[in-house]
Structure formats: structure tokens, C-alpha cells
């Protein structure tokens, strides 16, 4: 079976790269599941959402929080470029909860991006908020 070549990159480093069966990303308009053979798309990611990757070697799903960014699909190559990107396994849950609390207490100050990002970090780490 064909696989996708996936690269999840932030400006400071390459967060994850490898072969995958499927990638799930969230755009402003809704969730998008990407499998091999997908048409070329250049899309905007929802700021503060979770990207899920199913590795081709049958391992566990890789989850990552992404901030402002976009993704491109072309010829079974998927690149996710996000200004903030963090793997679920790297998220410091206590720190994420603290930033969620801060975002909630200062609600209304911005457009809720901080809150969405904090929630996405918690979701990526596997602990619901």
C-alpha cells in the first residue's frame, strides 16, 4: 500500500518526519483526513488545533499541537508548517493547564487564540480539557 511522506516542521526545527498511512488536520472549515492519492491542496490550519498522524509502521498515532500555519499536499507528500508545533509526548501538561487558566481568566482580551492553543496542547497530550 502506498504511504504518505510526512514532514511536520516549525521554524526552529523539524518536529516529526516519516512515512504515514493517514494524516488528520483541522482547517478553518473543518477536519480533513488525508490518505495516499489525495489531490494537491494548500490549506490554512486552524490556529490552535491538533494534527494526527498514523505512522506507516503500525505504531501509535502521533499527535501534535499546531499554532498558526498551513499544510500542503502534493504527490503523496504532506508538509505541515506551523509557527508553533509541539508533539503530544513533549507537552508539559501542568504548564499547558496553567496557560489555559491564564487564557480563561483574561478572556475577552484577545480572540481566544491563547485558549484554543492551550486546549490543543492538552488534547495533543491526551488529557481532555
Amino acid at each position: 500500500m502506498a504511504t504518505l511522506k510526512v514532514g511536520l516542521v516549525s521554524p526552529e526545527r523539524e518536529v516529526w518526519s516519516g512515512e504515514a498511512k493517514m494524516v488528520v488536520a483541522q482547517t478553518i472549515e473543518g477536519q480533513l483526513g488525508i490518505m495516499p492519492g489525495h489531490a494537491p491542496v494548500l490549506g490554512v490550519l486552524l490556529d490552535g488545533s491538533v494534527v494526527k498522524i498514523e505512522p506507516a509502521d503500525g505504531g501509535e498515532w502521533v499527535t501534535a499541537m499546531v499554532g498558526s500555519g498551513f499544510f500542503s499536499i502534493a504527490g503523496d507528500e504532506v508538509s505541515v508548517l506551523a509557527e508553533q508545533a509541539e508533539l503530544g509526548t513533549e507537552v508539559d501538561v501542568a504548564d499547558a493547564r496553567r496557560s489555559l487558566d491564564e487564557a480563561l481568566s483574561s478572556a475577552g482580551a484577545d480572540d481566544g487564540t491563547a485558549e484554543r492553543r492551550a486546549r490543543a496542547r492538552l488534547r495533543a497530550a491526551g488529557s481532555e480539557a
Binding site: 521554524p11 494537491p40 509557527e83
Partner: protein, 301 residues
Amino acid sequence: MPAQIRQLRQQIRSVKSTAKITRAQEMIATSRIVKAQAAVAASKPYADQIVSALTALVSHNVGIDHPLLNEQPEDARTAVLIITSDRGFAGGYNANVIREAESLIAKLRAEGKRPVPYVVGNKGVTWYRFRDREMGAQWTGFSDRPTFPDAEAVGRRLAADFLKTDAEGGVGEIHVVYTEFVSMLTQATQVRRLIPLEIEETTVADGAAAPPAYEFEPTAGDVLDLLLPNYIESRIFHMMLQSAASEHAARRRAMKSATDNANELIGVYTRQMNQARQAAITQEISEIVGGADALADSGGE
């Protein structure tokens, strides 16, 4: 004579302690170059991807319109982003950047524009403040280890100023002066125009794959809205990382030559001191011998 020896000892001690400091600075800089180069390499995948995405987008939407792509000939104010270091002890690093920036500013002024410096790094800020020159904005505190949020702050400010008109304190063009890390021994000061972006017309060579016909989610315009600021921030980040690596390399070289000079000086002083000590001993001996001879001559019998 003993006074001279004491003085030389004192000088040797002080040069030795200076050499220790410069040697330590040199080693610190050497280890940081490696880290700075790793940071440049780590930022490369993102920079490459964003360039290819932008190329794909623009090549399928010829004549696409976006404020950041438009020339603004009506705005005479021109931003010059100058990337310097926070700390000195880096040889000619800052002097080179500022000299290049000043010649660019003079050139822009000759073209009838009004250049405004936007300065990164304490050394550049001090230089302009001392001369009482107007600065558009200034950022300090991260020149030797820039992070993306730093570049983001600079990029946002520049893009926002670009979209304003002259009367609101905006600018019509943005140039950057930074230092490219060529190798450990060579760093080159570079001048680039950042905004408006220039779209190059190229033809795809036979056999090379043209960018695929993308669909855009939600629309090409929305994607461009996001892509362009990110592209600018990524360019600035790249330039800051290059400058940081160059800063460390320049500092390493300056500190190495300072250490070498100090060691040479210690050699010279040590020889002078030995000579003085030898002369003192010789004199003492001849005094004793002379004294004994005189005693033998006068006393006697």
C-alpha cells in the same frame, strides 16, 4: 634595578589574566558557533517548504494581488532593518554592519527617499542613540540566540508599518542589512530588499516537475494572507540566525588574536625581566669582587 623587575612581574601578571579571559571568551564563542550553525540547519526545512508553497501559489495565480506585493512609490519613508549584536568583543562585526547600513542609507537618501533605521541589537541601538538619530523601532536582548517569536515580533512590526502610509509613520520599502555566515573564517555583510517581494518570472526546465495544480482551502487569497507574513518572518528569522552565527565566528576570531597577542607580550616581558635580573646579579657580583679587591689592597700585611 629591583624596581624594574617588580614592574615587569606586575605587567606579566596582568597580561596573563587578560589572556585567560580572552581565551575563555574564545572557547565560549567556538562552542556557540556549532550551536548557531545547528539552529540554521534546523530552520532550513521550514524555510524551504514555505518558499516552495509560495512559488506554487504565485505561479498558479499570476497577477495575484496582495498589499505586501505592491510597490508603494508614494511613500518616501524607507525602513532599513539593521541586525547588530548585543555585546561587543567581536572585532569588526558591528562596525561592518553599520558601515554597510550607512552607505545604504546615503544611497537611499540620494534617491530622494527618507530612510529610517529599525535596529536589532544593543550595539546598533547605542550607535544611533549616541548620534541622536531617529529610529523606527529597536529590539535588543536576543542577538546571540534568536528564537522564532523574536523574529515574529520584528516581522509583524515591519509588515504593519509597510501597510501604513507615510503620514501614519509607515514605510514604502523595507531593506535588511545582516551578516551572512559563509564559513568559520568568512562572514559577509549583505544588503537585501525584503518588502515589496519581487516575483521572478522563470521557465521550468524540460523534465523538471512544475508545481502541482493546488486546490486552496479555503481560498487562494486566504492562503496568501497567511503565507506572506509567515514567509517574511521566516526570512527575518533566517537572517537573524545567520547573523548570530557570524557574531560568534567574529568574536572567536577577535578573541583568538587577542589571546595570541597577549601570549606574545608575555614572552617579550619575560625576556626583558630575565635580562634585568641577570644584569642585577652581574652588578652585585662585580660589586662584591670590587669590594674584596679594595679590601685586599688597602688592608693587607
